[in-house]
């Protein structure tokens, strides 16, 4: 009985009004609000608050160069968070993305050093990423291993592998190759390429989730796996392919990392990316149980996190505090989510 009541409350809280049904009489403001959604609105509000507080403390925050810094800083974690959203919508989790990014970063630089061909090195790195993701997916589906455990294992494994092949040191130098330089510092229409990559990945995934049967099936699997299975959706295939795609995106992140630093980095720069990506997705309203969440929410949350980090840096806050802030934020985001679901259970879930 009680669960029914909670479900009701939940849906009333964030009922999305149909765009086609909205009718012409509704004001554009209302339509806009509905398009954005309650959760996203509170995030945008938090973002505005952050900008005001940080900006009033240090006006340099608004410099174009600083905005570009924020943009390029969030691009790598951004694509990971976007793809992590799909994984979490399925009801899974991928903790190994940071390690996979480190591994592919090293691979891209090492392959580049053997033949000085950026294209080949990027393709090899992407292949390694897909293989890493595929491995996760196969272990989860066919080994019936809990996703957290499986990717926790590969979190350690991929990192170890990266350190092993690189002897734990930065590898190669890509700082003179035009392609890598273009990725790292190039601009199109005044916007850095790194940001373009984030925008492209986000739009692609958004359209996939919103407009294709694949996306709708992903929501169905996370919302009620039994129902999805009985409706004839091949759960195993979806899970394996999505983890492989996660690996692909981790490889893109690794390549961006190589380009930015000019060398293959086994751990530096990739460490902690998984935490940031999961925090962003949770903050953006993706339910840990799956089935609920949007790319728009995740992207806004990525921006909020980026601004927060940048703000703490330019306000000279000790960087260790940033880790603490991030941890607290993750817990707070999930607590808010659970409250909205109406979970009032005592003891273990």
């Amino acid at each position: 009985m009680s669960s029914q009541v909670h479900i009701k409350r939940d849906t009333e809280g964030r009922q999305e009004t149909p765009s086609s049904y909205a009718g012409v009489s509704r004001s554009w403001l209302r339509t806009a609000l509905n398009a954005i959604g309650v959760q996203n609105l509170s995030l945008l509000f938090a973002l505005a608050l952050l900008v005001i507080v940080i900006g009033s403390q240090n006006p340099n925050f608004f410099l174009v160069s600083n905005l570009r810094t924020i943009g390029t800083a969030i691009s790598i974690v951004g694509i990971l968070a976007v793809m992590q959203t799909i994984i979490m919508l399925l009801g899974g989790l991928d903790i190994s993305v940071g390690s996979a990014a480190g591994l592919t970063s090293v691979v891209s630089a090492m392959v580049f050093m053997t033949n000085q061909n950026a294209g080949v090195s990027i393709l090899v790195a992407l292949g390694v990423g897909v293989a890493a993701g595929l491995f996760n997916g196969l272990v989860i589906v066919y080994g019936r291993v809990n996703a957290v455990i499986a990717t926790l294992a590969t979190y350690a494994g991929f990192r170890g592998l990266a350190n092993l092949i690189s002897n734990g040191r930065a590898q190669g130098y890509t700082g003179t190759d035009p392609i890598y330089v273009f990725i790292a510092r190039g601009s199109l229409f005044g916007v850095p390429v790194l940001i373009w990559i984030l925008v492209c990945v986000a739009i692609f995934v958004h359209c996939l989730l919103r407009y294709t049967d694949i996306g709708r099936n992903i929501y169905a699997i996370g919302g009620n796996a039994t129902a999805a299975r009985l409706a004839g959706i091949n759960l195993n295939r979806y899970i394996v392919v999505c983890y492989a795609l996660m690996g692909l995106v981790a490889a893109i992140a690794g390549i961006m990392l190589t380009a930015r630093t000019g060398s293959g980095q086994p751990t530096s720069g990739s460490q902690g990316l998984e935490l940031q990506a999961i925090t962003a997705a949770a903050l953006g309203g993706v339910a840990m149980q799956g089935g609920k969440g949007t790319i728009a929410g995740t992207v806004i949350a990525v921006v909020v996190l980026g601004v927060l980090q940048n703000g703490l840096t330019i306000l000279n806050v000790n960087s260790f505090w940033q880790d603490i802030a991030q941890g607290l934020l993750l817990v707070a985001a999930v607590i808010v989510q659970q409250r909205r679901r109406g979970v009032r259970a005592v003891g273990l879930p």
Binding site: D213, R216, N224, A231, G232
Partner: protein, 497 residues
């Protein structure tokens, strides 16, 4: 003299049921699936709270707000599925929550000694060792652990919910002896069972429940099996739902020797335009048969033919392609995406067909959802309304719409009207009849016999994973079906086995 009488005026599950159990007697509780036996036990154990009515133990009014209260009052309920902690010993399982401890420390040895003594007291020391781990126990031994657990402390009333369903004959015999011992010790016993011979063997009195109300309490010595079946069924709903005869065409679905873990050697045919009822007790394998048909449970043997061609059905996706749809038993757990819209829920099985280059054409999707909302009269503010906001009956119609949208050749409906109000029920029956007229082959699984009788052209009765009888719809009566399902001598039917 302990005297329990209970009265409730619940919504539907239980209506003004009164029950009296005396110290030192065995009271059998009988009734069809859904008659309210489990609800009654749950209220007795404090798991649910009654809306109305009072409960008296030994003449004192009791208010149970939790199972602990019921326990303290000396009431124990032993459920059908025993809860045993797998990784600890039998002794600890018996004393769980009440481990004998001294000064906050508990001694493994002392617990085992206590458990051994208790087991010996009831004559079970040969059947089970106190140091065995929970996971190594047989179903019967698990039941024993549950019973021993119930005997700790002061016990006035013990209720058994179908205790023999997982026991062999020898073990059941043991259990009857124990129950006899308990009766001798002045404990009041409530014994829920579907098995007539058991009831006549051990019970002193029997109370029959039907549709949540007590029909009658009788002395066992003054009643017969036929009388009990009559009391359990005894309603006349023929005036409410008229059975419509359909005109069966060619064979659409043919099943040959289907065998899985739970279902054995099931063969039958369903013709186009024919409605087949699948009757049987809960646990007889009806739902398992349905899931096996759509490839959701691995098949060990058997063939499935649709329109005369054998189809390889290894997963529910294959079943959709082969034209077999299943409206599952539990709409919330197995069918609905509660947070998603009516449109989303209806179109789930046909998204691919509605897509061009994998992009879902939202116009055709909306049109499809709209057409089903109209056709099935689904009451919702719009097709974008989350299904969680709909009533049970309308949710069920959404699930039905999902399975009608791919236009299946065979439709399996598992408990299609569970938790649905009478109005929606009649609408769902109308839809089933209409589908049959259009030539679909339909299988209806239901624990409500009037539903089976109202819809079916033929009724298959399942018992213990097998199809044990086939009865033409016009000859079937509730009495005959109950008798067949319960392995009681048939009244007016031909048995197939």
């Amino acid at each position: 003299m302990q005297n329990v009488s209970k009265g409730f005026a619940g919504v539907q599950a239980l209506r003004d049921a009164s029950l009296e159990v005396r110290a030192g007697e065995i009271m059998a509780l009988m009734g069809e699936n859904g008659a309210g036996k489990s609800t009654l036990l749950k209220i007795l154990s404090g798991a649910h709270k009654q809306d109305n009515g009072t409960m008296l133990v030994a003449g004192n009014v009791q208010e149970f707000s939790s199972p602990d209260d019921a326990h303290a009052a000396g009431i124990r309920v032993i459920y059908q599925e025993p809860e045993v902690i797998p990784h600890v010993s039998v002794a600890e399982n018996i004393y769980v929550g009440a481990l004998p401890a001294r000064g906050g420390l508990f001694s493994q040895r002392r617990v085992v000694e206590c458990a051994r003594a208790e087991l010996a007291r009831y004559g079970f020391d040969n059947a089970i060792d106190a140091e065995t781990l929970g996971r190594d126990l047989s179903p019967a031994q698990r039941q024993l652990v549950e019973i021993m657990r119930a005997l700790i402390g002061e016990v006035r009333i013990i209720a058994f919910d179908e205790p023999t369903s997982s026991l062999s004959d020898v073990e059941a015999e043991r259990l009857f002896e124990l129950i006899g011992t308990l009766r001798g010790a002045g404990v009041g016993i409530i014994y829920v069972s579907h098995r007539m011979p058991e009831v006549f063997r051990i019970a002193d009195r029997v109370t029959v429940l039907r549709d949540g109300a007590v029909v009658q309490t009788r002395e066992v010595s003054e009643t017969t099996q036929e009388q009990l079946v009559g009391l359990m069924v005894g309603r006349d709903l023929s005036g409410i739902f008229h059975r419509q005869a359909h005109e069966p065409g060619d064979v659409v679905l043919a099943v040959e020797g289907l065998t899985t873990d739970d279902v054995e050697d099931c063969s039958f045919e369903v013709r186009g335009g024919e409605v087949i009822g699948l009757a049987g007790l809960v646990g007889a394998g009806r739902s398992e048969l349905a899931h096996a048909l759509i490839g959701d449970i691995p098949r060990q043997a058997g063939r499935i033919l649709v329109d005369g061609t054998e189809r390889r059905i290894a997963n529910p996706g294959d079943a959709v392609k082969a034209g077999i749809g299943l409206v599952p038993e539990e709409r919330k757990a197995q069918a609905l995406l509660m947070h998603r819209s009516v449109r989303d829920n209806i179109c789930l099985t046909v998204l691919r067909k509605l897509s061009v280059m994998r992009v879902v054409r939202q116009g055709s999707e909306r049109a499809l959802a709209q057409s089903f909302v109209r056709r099935l009269n689904i009451r919702t503010s719009s097709i974008e309304n989350p299904v969680a906001n709909l009533s049970g009956g309308n949710q069920q119609k959404v699930v039905l719409a999902r399975w009608l949208s791919p236009k299946p050749r065979v439709l399996i409906l598992d408990e299609p009207t569970r938790g649905v109000d009478v109005g929606a029920k009649a609408e769902i029956y109308d839809v089933v009849n209409e589908l049959a007229r259009d030539g679909m082959a339909i299988i209806v699984i239901s624990s409500e016999l009037p539903e089976i009788l109202a819809l079916s052209d033929r009724v298959l009765v399942m018992r213990a994973g097998r199809i044990v009888a086939e009865v033409p719809g016009r000859e079937a009566t509730e009495q005959s079906l109950v008798a067949l399902a319960m392995d009681h001598e048939p009244v007016t039917t031909k048995e197939l086995t």
